[in-house]
């Protein structure tokens, strides 16, 4: 095994410890050895997440393992690796860019956070804009980062109109076809998504990842 391979191996192993400290340490090790930050993601961290995902599919791991692996990787990519990538003037080649948030008036965000972590684990670039977010903010962020997907979550039936408003704004600005809009949350149904003109709906996080892949033509 070359020293580079060993470093990648360490990264995969680090992800499987679910320990942010160890993941940060191994990432820094690889960076200081001159490994390309894009490779650190592709051949190390993302590979580790894929291993976690496979164990989840096999029933060996559960949701908490997926999230416990994805969250620290998410923050390491954001805080350590993306600045390095930008310094080199490069860019990541994710499967797609997703803006995620919980709509205005709603502070329930566990569902949105789970979907975010799972999408990150599936090699999507996720921009989480938080909870209680006005519709305008979703659109602004999507335009700013040239997102492929806008995902809006709502748990309360009374806040559902916030999802509709996002689509209305996109139509008003004449950019509806630029983004796929997916909606989620307990009160959301296929009928609701059809009614407000969304592009898709998923009942749980695993389905959400499949939906995003399908919408972007990535297949299953």
């Amino acid at each position: 095994m070359s020293s580079k391979e060993k470093l990648f191996n360490n990264l995969v192993e680090a992800v499987l410890t679910f320990d942010e400290k160890i993941i940060v340490e191994k990432t820094k090790e690889a960076l200081s050895s001159g490994v390309d930050p894009l490779d650190i993601i592709e051949k190390g961290l993302a590979k580790g997440l894929k291993a976690v995902g496979e164990k989840y599919e096999a029933g060996e791991f559960f949701l908490m393992h997926l999230i416990a692996a994805a969250e620290p990787v998410q923050s390491v990519i954001k805080e350590l690796l993306e600045p390095e990538i930008r310094k080199k003037g490069g860019g990541r080649k994710p499967l797609g860019k997703v803006v995620l948030g919980t709509v205005e008036g709603d502070i329930h965000d566990i569902g949105k956070n789970i979907v975010g972590a799972m999408l990150t684990a599936a090699n999507f670039e996720v921009y989480d804009i938080g909870k209680d977010v006005p519709a305008e903010k979703f659109v602004e962020k999507a335009k700013e980062i040239q997102a492929d997907i806008i995902g809006a979550s709502a748990l309360l039936t009374t806040t559902l109109p916030g999802q509709e408003r996002i689509i209305e704004i996109l139509k008003r600005e004449g950019i509806r076809d630029r983004f796929k809009v997916i909606l989620g949350g307990a009160p959301v149904t296929e009928e609701w998504v059809k009614k407000v003109g969304g592009d898709g709906y998923a009942g749980d996080a695993v389905e959400a990842v499949k939906l995003v892949k399908r919408l972007l033509g990535e297949g299953e």
Binding site: L63, M64, T157, T158, P161, P187, T189, G203
Partner: protein, 484 residues
């Protein structure tokens, strides 16, 4: 004559010491970790009372003495009033009452198709469940419609429900204005001034905080407004074990208790003696799917622990049981609902919000399941009634055994049998007890078929006491005002 509940609470899993430790640790959570309250006036109120407030993060750390003082101010016995006194419900220690469905968004029709709900469905389901003898309190069976906007939907729901029941109604509200409008509607129905609504409140309101440890702005508005009019508040925490709360029983009950104690402290500071019902809806996060389960067996354990805590505090408890994750009226719905309901009743949950008729973790509602659930409640109530083993009952039994004796063949002709049959034997209304041949001869009726017939009959025949025309016009007018 008010409705009489059934004595429950026969089940204890935990010692008094364990419950006391749970209480003390909850006080530590509030004092050292605190809660988030997204409301300026509430933060100020808490700070003036002696809490430590961080205005930037909106975190309130509450000293123990404030919580204990607030607990002393919570009324011990609360009556929830109906439109007439026959439907009043007195919440006293260990008495069990049953609530109706709440919050469904879709209908499972008689032909088995699932469809979005319309406002007419809300009225139909209220009427159907109003007729079921084991439902004492009404909630809002459905809260999302394809023909009514979600803005101001809760008072529209109140209008739809109150027309179709004389029972007490548990409402929801999206902020202060909607609480006030619902109070105006109640005043119109009772033909009293708005200020007098709290003397005999015919509705109460759920204030549903957001675990972990967060009080959203609108919920605090609801709490403050209810306190102003002395409308009973159902302070609700609905954490997911492993998701929005620790995964252990100790952890989820500890966090839930801290959350509700913080709510009690705020409410009693806003207005001492405001009636509060400690309301819990702990769920389990399914670690394979990432969805919250309402049919999970762990919830039975949570109800035992929470009921023991509430007994220690002396405050009434409302819980959510009799629920299922099944999508259709099937075997899974039956066993999940029955086990969960029995556990809550044996725990001593005073108001069991049973989400009557609902499936799919309370999202879908079914006519047949409503009637089947009523049967489950009847069976559980029979179990709660228990049996009378006393010197008198033993002596009577001894006498009748002596009368029949080893030479006799049966007890059917004994007066003892006729006397005690009505007390002892519970008769089913949808369960079938025929043997095979008789069952075939009578049309192979399953519980589902029986329930379908009964539901159709109720929908055709049951008409609750209507409200006068001018009252209807007035509440419709208030219901249609904007809430912002």
């Amino acid at each position: 004559m008010p409705l009489s509940g059934i004595k429950g609470g026969q089940l204890r899993f935990f010692t008094k010491d364990q419950i006391y430790s749970l209480h003390l640790t909850s006080l530590n959570v509030l004092e050292q970790i605190g809660v988030m309250m997204d409301h300026d006036a509430a933060l100020k109120l808490m700070e003036e009372a002696g809490a430590e407030v961080d205005y930037k993060d909106r975190i309130v750390k509450i000293p123990q003495y404030l919580v204990l003082e607030a607990l002393r101010k919570v009324p011990r016995n609360i009556t929830l009033y109906g439109r007439n006194s026959e439907n009043d419900v007195a919440l006293t220690r260990d008495m069990i009452y049953n609530g109706s469905a709440n919050n469904a968004i879709a209908i499972l029709d008689f032909n088995g198709t699932r469809r979005p709900a319309t406002f007419k469905d809300l009225e139909d389901f209220t009427r159907l469940q109003d007729a079921l003898e084991n439902i004492h309190i009404m909630s809002t069976p459905i809260t999302a419609f394809n023909d009514v906007s979600p803005k101001g939907v809760y008072k529209r729901c109140y209008e739809g429900v109150v027309k179709n029941t004389e029972k007490h109604v548990i409402n929801q509200a999206d902020g202060a204005k909607e609480v006030r409008d619902e109070a105006r509607m109640a005043a119109a129905i009772m033909d009293i001034e708005l200020e007098e609504v709290g003397r005999r409140p015919i509705f109460s309101v759920i204030a549903d905080l957001a675990p972990p440890l967060k009080f959203p702005r609108t919920i605090i508005e609801v709490i403050m407004e209810c306190a102003k009019y002395r409308i009973p508040i159902l302070l609700e925490s609905d954490p997911y074990a492993g998701g929005t709360a620790p995964i252990t029983t100790a952890g989820i009950i500890l966090q839930q208790n801290a959350e509700i104690l913080a709510g009690i402290t705020l409410t009693e500071l806003a207005k001492p003696n405001t009636p509060i019902i400690y309301t819990c809806a702990p769920m389990v996060l399914d670690m394979r799917l990432g969805v919250a389960s309402l049919g999970a067996p762990e919830r039975g354990v949570y109800h035992v622990a929470t009921a023991q805590l509430c007994r220690y505090y002396g405050v009434p408890l409302c819980g959510v049981a009799g629920t299922t994750d099944s999508k259709v009226v099937d075997v899974q719905a039956g066993y999940e609902k029955a086990i969960s309901y029995l556990m809550a009743a044996l725990s001593g949950v005073n108001i069991i919000t049973s989400h009557t008729g609902t499936l799919e973790s309370v999202l879908t509602i079914s006519y047949e399941q409503s009637v089947i659930d009523n049967e489950i409640y009847g069976m559980v109530f029979r179990i709660l009634r228990g049996g009378d083993i006393s010197d008198d009952s033993l002596y009577e039994a001894f006498k009748v055994i002596g009368k029949v004796g080893p030479l006799g063949s049966h007890y059917l002709s004994q007066e003892h049998t006729r006397k005690y049959f009505p007390v002892e034997e519970w008769l089913p209304t949808v369960s079938d007890r025929n043997k095979w041949d008789a069952w075939v001869r009578k049309g192979k009726k399953t519980a589902l078929k029986m329930a379908r017939e009964k539901a159709k009959k109720i929908l055709k025949e049951h008409r609750p006491e209507p409200l006068p025309r001018e009252t209807l016009e007035e509440i419709a007018r208030i219901a249609e005002e904007p809430i912002y």
